[in-house]
Point group: C2
Chain length 135, copies 2
Amino acid sequence: MTKMNKERSLSKNQQIILDLIDKSSEPLKAYTILFNVQKKGIKAPPQVYRALDKLVEIGKIHKIESRNAFVACKNSNCEISKATAFSICESCEEVDEVSDTKLSKFLSKFNDKKGMTFKRFNLEFFGLCKRCKIK
Amino acid sequence: MTKMNKERSLSKNQQIILDLIDKSSEPLKAYTILFNVQKKGIKAPPQVYRALDKLVEIGKIHKIESRNAFVACKNSNCEISKATAFSICESCEEVDEVSDTKLSKFLSKFNDKKGMTFKRFNLEFFGLCKRCKIK
DNA sequence: CTCTAAAACGTTATATTATTACATACTGTT
DNA sequence: AACAGTATGTAATAATATAACGTTTTAGAG
């Protein structure tokens, strides 16, 4: 039996950029990433966008569409970039990945009336986080 | 009893841009809109973006975040721009507003574990529409 | 009607986000 | 070694969005 290595190894640029996003407590924008990895030899936007595209594709990171920013996947190396949900505080811009079994089951089962077949969804909740409500 | 006119009247630019989006069968991008209303005297991006912002705010249109494009609200002048859901065909890029009572109830009731208060959500489903599945 | 504040407008410039295009190099099979 | 697929580096440019002004219009209060 051949060793099916599910764990794809990342390229140099992919790893550098994933490391940065992983360490960050907040979503990072492409150009913020660029500025932060220039010392590591990544000098131009396409290098960043290519790595980001790949990382999104393999589920290591997610794009927060409403913010054009990227976060690391917290769901133990998420195979399910097919089913993403985030909570976004409109005051402090804190973003968290929502992981709720009921929610993802409900949405994954959801069927369109017009006969579309869904492969994937992305859900973004907006509101105020605990801390910002108090202020 | 004073007449509470819920029906806000749109400004000239807002009306021009809403008309265009309304007539369109597909989501329109800001610069596509700009090019199409230049003959009507709207010449610069800020004019378009201002009108779009307002129209989104009052629920006449919605932004498809993953596409940076705008569609008219089909839910009878949607007060509920608080709860939007769309289906997006990844092949032909057709976009439809999903209106499903169960879905919107479920999501509107959804409560965050971390104590966030949600005011609004946006959900985008991706897949293949009926027609594109056949091809 | 007149005054006022809010909203909308027009304009120029610029910031931010993302892609095209092309030449080169690396990686892992056969 | 040869090939295919993936990744790289680089320059240029496209596409999306906002800042910052000053002016004009609109709707309501008095």
